[in-house]
Amino acid sequence: MLYQCGTGAVRNGRCGKPNTPSLRWGRGGRGGLIVLLLLCLFRSGAARAGEADSVQLLRPVNAMFTAEVGHARVLDTYLTPIAYSGTHLALGYTATQATGFAPHRWTRQLSLEASYAPARNPAHNRTLHTLMAEGGWSLMHRWPGWRPGVNVLLGGSTRLRAGAVYNPSGSNNVVSAHIHWSVGAAGMIVWSTRLRRVPVTLSYSMTLPVAGVFFSPEYDESFYEIYLGNHSHLAHFGWWGNRFDLDHRLSLDLHLGGTIVRVGYHGRFEQSWVSHLDTKFSTHALVIGIGGDFLSIPRRGINPKAKIINGL
């Protein structure tokens, strides 16, 4: 079970602010820990039983729910040689947490996203509908940066992205399916500071798939032929010789008590060229989000000397 963990210290006899400077409840602020406070009271007996000399490590999950709106450009020559432009809409979720192993040095991140882009042709008489879903998981090493409050994260990621582009005016090429699994690099630069009295986190993150596997029919291959059983040449090894993807975000997180409000930019560039078919998707979106740091309370409760390690 997850409970919200704020950005301040817990003031409670058994879960109070410890004297040790190593304890960090998020990135500043002292309010908004009501849920955790109640939980600490509720679990105080267990916490007492769990008091031990060893330092207990708590790893809150930085969870953000986001919504995006922006511009999309879609080119899929299996459907049409014309590039379409339109609106990009997306809902996303990211969960960032220090890892169970070596939590001081490693961070893991789960991201989920569903997007929809209705795009019009230049003549404004036809619409392509792009519906995509994506799940990604990253594992990054965390280094303290060149100045206080700055962290640099670098590691690897794997992503599965699937969806379809639907052309209502098509015939046997009415839809273009897209499935892409990739592994690649992931990186973040995180700067935690204050804007007047408000703790803020400015971060830039990027994922760069390097290799993977993706689906593409051949040049004029119909899905009916695939349905009949011709499955040859559908799976392609993806590398920078036949596709290039880049996903990056610039985010400003405002820590308002126990709530984190996010404003940011999300850009995605996705291009493939295989079997004489070209696909190119690019989006630029404004991101707004809300979330917080959530803590899963151990069964034995929280030790007063517990040490909290954030993944960012």
Partner: protein, 352 residues
């Protein structure tokens, strides 16, 4: 004072800065290195739209060699008719005339004001009069299941008319139809003027007339923009429908020039079944699965793609010839007689 600790810290800071900037630089370099030029976006001008149309057909159309069409020469001829100030209708007419050179019923230019076409069956005898059959053979007394009109005729032959393969036909519907016609001495499947539809409905229907996994043809597709870029033909098979009624008695399929596209495919498959006789006219063809593309001005172009061959290995783009060639007799029509249907009766009578 410079201490070893400070030196280590400074080195670490430098390394981190270097790492961060390298990450950004690498991303930019990779972005530049991996950029792939996308296809040219042509302007929305008469020339741009014409070139877009010509290129789409040039790169995707599969029957140039089969129809002996010199597409380069066709393009050169019609390109001379372009002017910068021509109206949209004039451009449409030029483009339509160019597409008609392909002699392909699957190839259309679709604008908001018109659809160009090469309806080959308009040039041939219709050989089908629905009213005549309804009045003189069915007595307006027939059943209809899904898209199939059916009846047990007075001479104890079953008759079913399937007007469009676009009409969904379910296994339950077919069970009802075939159960009703089970006592008939033979079955007539009338697909005259059936302009096609979904090939999956072909599979559903054929599945009732085969008893084992049956080779029904092959399909190809273009693998690139070159005129000779084709995949190897992929052989495909239909399975008999399991746990449903099958029809084992003699069957006659009635076809005309209006039997096009998916219907053409249906007739080509049924013709190769031993208990089936095809009667009527050569089908309309349309063996290529149509694809759709688009011009800069928003006009759609539909064209044949993915050639389908019959079980004999023949491309049926030009139609499937019948086993028994019959046209509607001018003398029969006033008497309320369907010549093709009467021929079917005679064939079934011989097979009794």
């Amino acid at each position: 004072m410079l201490t070893p600790h400070k030196v280590v810290a400074a080195s670490r800071n430098c390394a981190l800065k270097y790492c961060a900037w390298s990450m950004v630089h690498c991303a930019l370099l990779l972005l530049m290195a991996s950029c792939h030029d996308e296809p040219e976006q042509r302007p929305d001008t008469p020339q741009g739209n014409f070139d877009a149309l010509w290129t789409i057909i040039d790169e995707h159309y599969p029957f140039f060699a089969d129809k002996q069409v010199d597409w380069q020469a066709v393009g050169d001829h019609y390109r001379q008719l372009l002017t910068d100030d021509m109206t949209s209708q004039e451009l449409f007419d030029v483009c339509s005339d160019m597409l008609k050179e392909l002699r392909d019923g699957h190839t259309n230019l679709i604008a908001s004001h018109d659809v160009s076409r090469y309806w080959i069956w308009e040039q041939y005898p219709v050989n089908y009069d629905e009213r005549l059959i309804d009045e003189h053979y069915l007595n307006f007394n027939y059943r209809r299941a899904s898209g199939i009109k059916y009846a047990l005729l007075d001479n104890n032959y079953g008759y079913m008319y399937y007007a469009s393969f676009a009409s969904p036909v379910g296994e339950g519907n077919l069970d009802l139809v075939l159960n009703h016609l089970a006592t008939a001495d033979g079955l007539i499947i009338d697909v005259r003027s059936n302009g096609g539809g979904y090939l999956t409905n072909v599979e559903t229907l054929v599945g009732r007339f085969i008893d084992e996994r049956t080779y029904v043809g092959s399909i190809q597709h273009k693998t690139g923009p070159g005129h000779d870029d084709f995949s190897q033909p992929f052989d495909y098979y239909f399975e008999p429908t399991k746990n449903h009624i099958h029809y084992q008695k003699p069957v006659v399929v009635l076809a005309n020039r209006g039997s096009f596209s998916a219907t053409n495919n249906f007739v080509s498959i049924m013709k190769h079944l031993p208990q089936v006789t095809v009667v009527g006219d050569t089908t309309g063809g349309g063996s290529g699965l149509p694809f759709t593309s688009e011009l800069p001005n928003g006009w759609n172009v539909r064209f044949s793609s993915c050639p389908v061959r019959d079980p004999g290995g023949q491309v049926t783009e030009h139609g499937v010839p019948p086993d028994v060639r019959v046209d509607q007799s001018a003398a029969d029509t006033p008497q309320g007689r369907d010549t093709l249907l009467e021929t079917a009766f005679a064939i079934l009578a011989r097979k009794r």
